[in-house]
Point group: C2
Chain length 255, copies 2
């Protein structure tokens, strides 16, 4: 395809080659991880150093904070975090639990705003963290709002990987659960993403269309009754407030 | 320079052309903002759509959440947020104020971890947010630890832009303040970044070298005495705890 700029694909692959297990790499390491020739890897690394996205001591290469500007372009263009954050902070203060907002990207949810309080998850959750949509309360909340043809295709093509012994992995069972979520307007997931984790989510709408979800994470030691009595009312109020502000702001999210 | 991959520079510029004021753009908009020809802009936009970083309805283009993966590569390779976040959460719970960690990038500080509680800043602070180092408590904390030659060059080449009527804009005055900060081991900044904002910061060290800073933001209505009595001891303890964990983790930050 002549319209495809392979150099851009390769340069982005060089950035993504770095992670917690590969914070610093030599030219040879980068060539190996990306499958590029040494000559090509050298050109991309030097370009990224030149542009301020990477640093090197001549031997080892590492990413610089400017890489965050790229993700910031997305978050800023989304408009959602700006709108959601004050409401999330208020909710977290009220319920004393971590609260988050996610959007759907393919078969994953991606966190776009978060106010952490108690640490329940084993995994660190940053903006940009992904989890499989089918096993999370925010994911099911967004999936439940999709049109039937889209959902048929999602269920036909997505492997419902179990993340704990309780994860729903049967498409028919998941579809029944999504119908229930759609009817009741919120979603609880118990220990399907991680043992010990109970989470409740509600939809965020832009001009009536579900474009994101907001949740509260808690521990299974909090009884389901308390989730219904203490967490659900402020969660639903927060989802409504974010939806109203998002619609009023003319945000492009989900348009 | 033959080693420079211009296509990568241009592709990254296309991503960065999108922001809160330009969440969706046509091909012509992108060409105008980036200075590319329409033909070049089309190739980069189509490549980004193909790679999943962008979506289009055929006319308007917008970024997709996958762009966050790029910033995530940096944060993940840093190791610092993982190490700092539990300590930040504990600190925020203890002092009931927003707490953050930043690193220095050029003349800016860049936020790499944050636990928001009360909203004091007018600006939304996401991971990746930048402020001029000279006007912030975290920036001065990191600047104060740099070697004299580096600091001379910084002060000779950086415009000390006033952000409020109280911002120090005189290089000699700033140097005196940095010496004081270096001696006392922490830094308070009052309303030099934003009116109403008082902030106190302490250095984070990796193997003895200052590589980042942690701060607590509060309102000027909290007396300076209370900053010294109530905020400084837990802040210093947090800075020590993060430094110890960072050093123990063998993190590459600042190496």
């Amino acid at each position: 395809m002549s319209d495809f700029v392979q150099s851009l694909e390769r340069g982005l692959a060089v950035i993504r080659a770095f992670d917690a297990d590969h914070p610093e790499m030599t030219l040879s390491d980068v060539a190996k991880v990306t499958g590029l020739t040494r000559a090509a890897a050298r050109r991309f690394l030097h370009t990224l150093v030149e542009l301020g996205y990477m640093r090197t001591d001549g031997k080892l290469f590492a990413l610089r904070p400017k890489v965050l500007d790229l993700g910031y372009s997305y978050l800023s263009s989304l408009g959602l975090p700006d709108v959601a954050q004050p409401h999330l902070e208020k909710l977290a203060t009220e319920v004393h639990e971590s609260c988050s907002v996610s959007v759907l990207d393919g078969t994953d949810i991606v966190y776009v705003a978060r106010v952490p309080t108690k640490r329940i998850m084993k995994v660190m959750i940053e903006t940009g963290t992904r989890f499989p949509a089918h096993a999370t309360s925010m994911g099911r909340t967004i999936l439940a709002a999709q049109d039937p043809a889209w959902l048929d295709s999602f269920l036909a093509t997505t492997t419902l990987t179990p993340l704990t012994s309780r994860t729903i992995t049967d498409a028919t069972e998941l579809r029944a659960e999504l119908t229930r979520v759609s009817t009741q307007g919120w979603c609880v997931v118990d220990e399907e993403l991680e043992n010990g984790l109970r989470s409740v989510a509600a939809p965020i709408r832009n001009q009536g269309k579900v474009v994101a979800a907001v949740n509260i994470s808690t521990h299974v030691s909090r009884p389901v009754d308390s989730v219904h009595t203490d967490l659900l009312p402020p969660l639903l109020a927060t989802a409504e407030a974010i939806s109203a502000d998002l619609t009023a702001s003319g945000g492009t999210l989900g348009r």
